[in-house]
């Protein structure tokens, strides 16, 4: 067990070093922080709300991640396939699972790091009012899990192609569906003609209701289960894609 953890960490470490050896990491972090600031303070009207919470900040994350997470993760497998290092990686004495998890964890840590750098928003909120710390923490937890779910989708689409752009577009489309499925205008559209069970199934795929629970300070087991199963399903999908790639 410790050996497989070690392998996962070796792969994750390599990915992380790869991020910071190229300008990708710095560009990503700067853009992530700039956009966060813009959305929170300009579009979110943070100051006019008069609320001591992070809603004006967190509410944008599903949309922000929609583009930024696929951008961060699109190279994970596509690049290995393009350069041919996939052959190197998969002939090493590790299981495909360890490689998939290692890459996923690396990129997740990286995004979490970028998210951590938004701490000035928290400090500002605490300075201006007296927010509930627990709610802020669950908000961040939800945001990390949301990013993890998008990232798992991106890992899967990245394994499907050797072209990073295609991988990016595919994952944006899938993640967009994960947002829209539970969005009221969309569910309203379905309610008019579809049976209720179908509406429920479709909307249960959405990240929105699960994410908003965290924003309200609720850590519901069902929400954890939702994000956990999206991640597990997509990583499993990745292993299927990788296997079919080699068997073809």
């Amino acid at each position: 067990m410790s050996e497989s953890l070690r392998n996962i960490w070796t792969i994750a470490k390599r990915e992380l070093v790869g991020y910071f050896n190229s300008p990708v990491a710095y560009v990503f972090i700067v853009i992530f922080l700039l956009l966060n600031g813009f959305f929170t303070f300009m579009l979110g009207n943070y100051f006019l709300r008069g609320e001591a919470n992070l809603n004006a900040f967190l509410m944008w994350h599903p949309w922000l991640y929609l583009f930024l997470v696929p951008a961060a993760g699109m190279r994970l497998w596509a690049e290995e396939r393009r350069v041919g290092t996939l052959e190197l990686l998969l002939t090493m004495p590790i299981s495909a699972w360890q490689a998939i998890l290692g890459k996923f964890v690396a990129c997740w840590i990286f995004i979490a790091l970028a998210l951590f750098l938004t701490f000035p928003v928290v400090l500002t909120t605490m300075y201006l009012g007296s927010p509930d710390v627990g709610t802020m923490l669950t908000g961040y937890l939800g945001s990390v899990l949301l990013a993890g779910a998008y990232l798992a989708v991106t890992v899967m689409t990245s394994a499907m192609t050797r072209n990073q752009v295609i991988s990016f577009i595919l994952s944006v489309v899938i993640c967009f569906f994960l947002i829209l499925a539970g969005w009221e205008p969309v569910t309203d559209l379905l309610v008019r003609w579809a049976p209720e069970w179908l509406v429920n199934i479709v909307s249960s795929f959405s990240v929105m209701p699960h994410f908003s629970d965290f924003q309200r300070g609720v850590v519901d087991f069902r929400d954890l289960l939702f994000f956990g199963s999206v991640i597990a399903f997509c990583l499993f999908g990745t292993s299927v894609v990788l296997r079919s790639l080699r068997a073809a």
Binding site: N7, N21, L88, T91, A247
Partner: protein, 319 residues
Amino acid sequence: MITVEDLVKDFGPKRAVNRVSFSVQKGEILGFLGPNGAGKSTTMRMITGFFPPTSGRVVVGGHDIGENPIPAKRLIGYLPESAPCYSDMTVHGFLAFAAEMRGLHGAAREQAIQRVVGLCFLESVLHQSVDTLSKGFRHRTCLAQSLIHDPPILVLDEPTDGLDPNQKHEIRQLLKRFGRDKAIIFSTHILEEVDAVCSRAIIIDRGQVVANGTPAELRARHELAGSVSLRVQGTAAETVRTKLHALPAAGRVVVQGDAATVTARVYPRDKPVNGDLARSLSELAQREGWRLDELRTEEGRLDDVFRSITRPETAKGAE
């Protein structure tokens, strides 16, 4: 160390590898020859566990690579065809990664890196980023990666591709040295390499093994192999011909020339009796008092053998 049994690989309707079987023992260096697209790389990818075979099996050091891939892969050092490296790392970082994947950490890792850096002449670029390296250095970096855990089995897909003549020579010396206590498979289309390095060679064409033997055995397949050519001064062609025909060891005899210089090629009657024919010819010349200019046993040229075995498809393709 490596046993390949009835290996088949289909890509859709196309059969890339068709019932390939062979084995490689410790201390053997197997050269894998074949025209481009013959199935060399595909076979190597199955041996290293990258491709699962359509049917057949590969056993590496007693472990079936399909059923028990991780212990099998531990024994193998692999250099893939295009020598891919992670270009966003330094040479040292890349080798450190390879070492850790092979379970070498801390001091053992640094020691292993030092060893392969010395073997592959990478000292000067150790802290350079891989994507700034020339092709030769990148190739050797990937080769170094395959040697990092001092594996008992090496699978090298065109290890000398893209190297200059000096580097090629160094790599061949390296292979020879390793060949003493490792099992090595390497593919190449440079035939002189087979002579210089291999203890055995396999020629594969359109997915099938068409020849398997030592380089000498392969050369013996050449149509001229075993024949002796000689040049005689100052004896009439007719006389030479008669005398040669009378020789019991001689089969077909071809004589050309005039009174001044006669060249002849004598084929042996029974194929492989090495040296016999040349010896009896030299005795004959001494008895007859011929002035012998040249007497040479033809060994057969590997590239001719290679071409005659693998040509049919290329000829068809060209038409």
